[in-house]
Amino acid sequence: MTAIDLGLPQLGGLAGVPTFDGKQTAKDYKTDQEVRWCPGCGDYAVLAAVQSFLPDLGLKRENIVFVSGIGCSSRFPYYMNTYGMHSIHGRAPAIATGLATSREDLSVWVVTGDGDALSIGGNHLIHALRRNVNLKILLFNNRIYGLTKGQYSPTSEEGKVTKSTPMGSLDHPFNPVSLALGAEASFVGRALDSDRKQLTEVLRAAAEHRGSALVEIYQNCPIFNDGAFDVLKEPGEREERIVPLRHGEPIRFGADGQHGVARDPKTGTLKVVEVAEVGEDNLVVHDATIEDPSYAFALSRLGNHNLDHTVTGVFRNVQRATYDDLARHQVEQAKAAKPANLGALLRGKDTWSVAAD
């Protein structure tokens, strides 16, 4: 899979980032800035989850950078006591690419939303994933434009009635996980804002992955799209809908684990089955490290926008050389092959001299 084999040892996502010996707590990652999201916004839960999981990574706080675009979620860096940049609508992956490529010693995180990442910044997102830059991209998906007060987004379901679409939206939405897998992202995960435990697990796996990691976080907007993900949170409903992935385990869900995922022998794709009907041995055992992205893609297609079956967890986690490692390696190779000599460069090959009279 790796196009260029550097013969380098396999690195973890945080290799090269200095570690902190002392004890850190969530409080260390909070700033003195007043958090200004609306009451009940799902962003609070994600912020809390990130602030409480970062100390576990044991990194020097000054070597962590959060870069965001524009939108409600993009205020995130202001509330993180790390380095941060609140940049331009859609451009955070590009800015973070330059930062991550020029600084091996940083853990670089991108915070973005469904509008920021998938509309105005769609191009940068797919190219960051394609290049496999060592970035952790947190995509807060609330299926609505919040900061501009409630227009439909590229993840809104078809027929969405909003201020800009009083007769219903016409666009077919993106499935962000499918999109990322189409760009051959080396790490793709999904979690709910309300499920701190799984969110933390996915974030930790993302942090430890070397390369681009896209984590889609379903996040409730209580003002403009309230309850969009309620069916995934209601007891009784959620067990029937959420399909949690655990690497190395058969994919099962339901209150009693009565449902599962198996291969459809006719089409070769995946489908939801009753365990009792097909037998436990015929369930798909989840393997996030399968090189071919079509397996993870099939997982992402199990449910549709109605959230009937919503797969969560880590879809894909494969090793592939990262753009930033390769770019730094080229510079080091060039330095080793030819020491910098500015005078020689400026003189070039063909010179002539004019002598004093």
């Binding site: 590009a94 800015i95 020029s102 600084r103 500015l342």
Partner: protein, 637 residues
Amino acid sequence: MAEEKGTVEPMSIDVGRGTRTTDVRKVDRVVIRFAGDSGDGMQLTGDRFTSEAAAFGNDLATLPNFPAEIRAPQGTLPGVSSFQLHFADYDILTPGDRPDVLVAMNPAALKANIADLPAGGMLIVNTDEFTKRNLTKVGYASNPLEDESLSQYQVHQVAMASITRAALEPTGLSKKDAERAKNMFALGLLSWMYHRETEGTERFLREKFAKNEAIAEANILAFHTGWNYGETTESFAVTYEVAPAKLATGTYRQITGNTALAYGIVAAGQCAKLPVFLGTYPITPASDVLHELAKHKNFGVTTFQAEDEIAGIGAALGASFGGALGVTSTSGPGIALKSETIGLAVMTEMPLVVLDIQRGGPSTGLPTKTEQADLLQAMFGRNGEAPVPIIAPRSPADCFQAALEATRIALTYRTPVLLLSDGYIANGSEPWLIPNVEDLPDLSVQFATEPNATDGSGEFWPYLRDPETLARPWAVPGTPGLEHRIGGLEKADKTGNISYDPDNHDKMVRIRQAKIDGITVPDAEIDDPSGAARVLVLGWGSSYGPIGAACRRVRRLGMDVAHVHLRNLNPFPRNLGEVLKRYDKVVIPEMNLGQLAMLIRAKYLVDAVSYTKVAGLPFKAEELQDVLIDFVKGLDA
């Protein structure tokens, strides 16, 4: 020379043989234009002749002119590519208005260029291409080589293709491949005519075709065949000598503007002791900056070919945030796409060097032609009050110093800087007095290392300013205790926290403006040899050559004219207003519709007169001379 010829196979054409003496005429300057189909290798031919002129010690200036299409239909007017070279025994400023010698490889090249050849000029045509079909293709009703239409020129009809083909027959090369070497025949002929050495070209061809020795030797043979053709045929009675120029003492090389710009960026990184990060997207005529920088990774240069213009500058700004020298390169359409990020760099007050190699606009415009019409875009092309310093190099070689100057301002004042080159100087070349590395400026920067709050809180305030430069501290990630957040939202003075306070916004807008206004730039230098001029011609950027040459001509006619050429366009030199007021008339020639004139009139209330042309080609010294004479005489009347 004679030894060189000895290695050449006898030509199979019937020409007078034996050594013959031609008159040698000494001239102080010559302009040669090679013109042919875009597949004829005219740029290569011109480049080679230029290198020989440079190696010989002539001063020189070049003007490549080629279509935007990679291969326009063969033999058509849109497919004509030309390369003009001016070389002289004194310091010259332009590639010349009109050629003394026009080499036309086909009817299209003749038709597209003949109007520029003055009466009495030398025309060398490749007759093989003057077929009925080719003539019809470009609208010649009759063959101009056979009617009287070229009678005012010294016409030399040479069957370049067939002679080359015949000469190369022993090599076993196909007819088609052999004919392709006809540009080397033309180069050989011109090299003979101007007493140029042949070794350099031979060495060059052997290197260029190192992987195919047969092709290398065939091209060398074609080159010698052209040389011998001049030596042995009776048709050229005179050869010319252009002595080396008496330039300032030192070591020189030939350089194009884009190469000089790339070297300037490499040098800037070294002088600043910072890694260079170029984030960019290919665009004509700026791509050669990327190509050149990509070769010099050993200087700690990272080149990132992004998915688009926006990502290119975004990545460069990200690298700047991390403590690198962030650079992006583009042309006008790319600047339009990058403007939001330039605005973010203004707001976040981070160093960033933005290279705009201007081309004809608007929109896609004329990608391969030159223009100076991005000045107002550079000055104002962003939302809000977003001042940005602007630097414009005046010549190919000056691009090196301009890159250093742009970097100095970006690093000292923590600001994006726009550098406005253009297609003319980007692709044109001239001798460059190579600077000593020890003489280059120290651009080293001090990153913030300590909290700086003045209220005893022990905090770090990212928007507390240096009282001299008004620059804010550059605190890079990885520095403990200085964790901070920046972004595009308005910042509170000093602390850098988000602020919507009306008075704070007013203050910050004014501070950002004051920071740019306060940048130290060199005073404007006045070129007014007699000190008696009443007319001042004010220019900027690449028009330095034509304006300077026009001023020389006007002065030679006994009239006085002063010339000021701006390299710093924002802020203007401190003394500019006072200088402008010394003259009765200020004339501003520009390759746009009067953009500098608008700025000058607005800022200094001077009744400056605009002289403009937007033809995709640089001004000719002759036309500017006429314009200036009119103004001088007008005042005297």
